[in-house]
Amino acid sequence: MDQLIILGFPLFLLLLTYFIGRHLESNHYKSIREREAATKDMVAINFPRFPFDVEIERAGMVMGSVVVSHDHFKRFLAQLRIIVGGRIKSYEPLLDRARREAVLRMKEQALARGHNTVVNIRLETSRLANSRRGGKGTAGVEMLAYGTALTVREGL
């Protein structure tokens, strides 16, 4: 009976976090896709400089940052995967969401400031250490997107 509880309770938690995680992820992707559609006309490129002449009215730096964490179920899957190696597919949606959300926030900031273009975009990431296991655990990741927002006359 003890064994059933020892195995059953973590299994219940795993399934619970799977369904909660799936629901949250699905909602996030829905929001991302809608906002990407709304901002799709804004030019966001990572050229350090324009390969052609444009007339720039205003310029400024914009940043979008997001901190995300994985759910218990995906972490469990990753831990299993680490034992045998291979692609850690369970982390792909997490990082994909983080990248897209950070870029979106950056573009939204640029739009809010009246710019129509962002150039020289860079993405950076950092791991947030968890206090558990002496700081060796991962609490989540931060994704930072930044670039130079421009107001280009007549657009590109």
Partner: protein, 284 residues
């Protein structure tokens, strides 16, 4: 040149995966590997345990003894001496024994007995309290002698150490993953344990018969309420270290019948006074 803004593509960076299927595949696959590794370890330990010299066992006992001492109630010397005598009487029917057996009584609210390396038998105060006859206690002690006979105590210890080592070597010192694969190991180990318990039961019965010319009282221990009632026998059997009581009693009865040993006969009174034990307390 003209900029061509587009929406990011979902499909490039995401591998379509059914997460539950992925989890099931990985868990089942790794559990099979874990069971394989643990079974190999258990088999190796079973092969190696009989050739470990007694001298090494004695060293392990010395290390354990200091910890055991903390739980030994004061004023139990008389009981220990009588238990030592009883163990000695039973062990006399095992002529080629190499052990020098001794008994220690520890305070605990569950009836139990353990065989530790070097010939040390730990008996809990609650076991002495519930024993209604000398015969009943003799069976439990004989059962523990059976573990020494088959060197099960070393096997259990060896398995425990190697299982932990196997888990630690792949970075599973603690945590849910360790629980999962630790449980595979535990269940594998218990399969071996149950086999060992059956063998120890038979050895205990044999010693009892040699000592008393009857195995009466040997099943009395199972008639006490040990807190497992209400559980289905299958679950208790699966989850417990020892075979479920019903299964175990049946196997013992079959063995006794096969040997033609009498199950009835006069039971000797319990030689241990309840008050002597229940007044004892663990020193703070």
């Amino acid at each position: 040149m003209k900029a061509d803004p587009r929406e990011p593509d979902d499909s490039v960076n995401l591998t379509p995966t059914h997460w539950l299927r992925e989890a099931t595949t990985l868990t089942v696959g790794l559990t099979v590997v874990a069971v394989g590794v643990f079974t190999t370890i258990a088999l190796l330990v079973n092969l190696l345990a009989p050739i470990i010299p007694l001298r090494i066992e004695a060293e392990v006992t010395e290390a354990i003894w200091a910890e055991v001492q903390e739980y030994v109630p004061k004023g139990g010397e008389d009981i220990v001496a009588r238990l030592d005598t009883l163990v000695g009487q039973l062990a006399n029917h095992w002529p080629d024994r190499e052990y020098d057996f001794h008994v220690a009584v520890v305070e605990a609210d569950r009836p139990n007995a353990f065989a530790l390396p070097g010939g040390l038998i730990i008996v809990t105060t609650d076991l002495i309290r519930i024993a209604e006859s000398e015969n009943e206690l003799a069976f439990v002690l004989g059962h523990e002698l059976g573990h020494f006979h088959n060197r099960d105590h070393l096997k259990a210890l060896g398995r425990g150490i190697l299982f932990d080592l196997a888990l630690a070597s792949i970075g599973m010192g603690a945590g849910s993953m360790s629980n999962l694969f630790g449980s595979s190991g535990l269940l594998t180990s218990r399969r071996f344990n149950r086999r060992q318990e059956r063998a120890a039961d038979r050895f205990g019965l044999e010693l009892m018969y040699e000592q008393y010319a009857t195995v009466a009282g040997s099943l009395d221990f199972f008639e006490h309420d040990l807190g497992v009632t209400g559980l289905s026998e299958t679950i208790a059997d699966f989850a417990g270290t020892h075979p479920g009581s019903t299964t175990r009693i049946k196997e013992m009865l079959d063995f006794v019948e096969e040997q033609g040993w009498p199950l009835d006969g006069e039971l000797l009174p319990p030689v241990f006074q309840e008050s002597t034990v229940s007044d004892s307390r663990v020193p703070e």
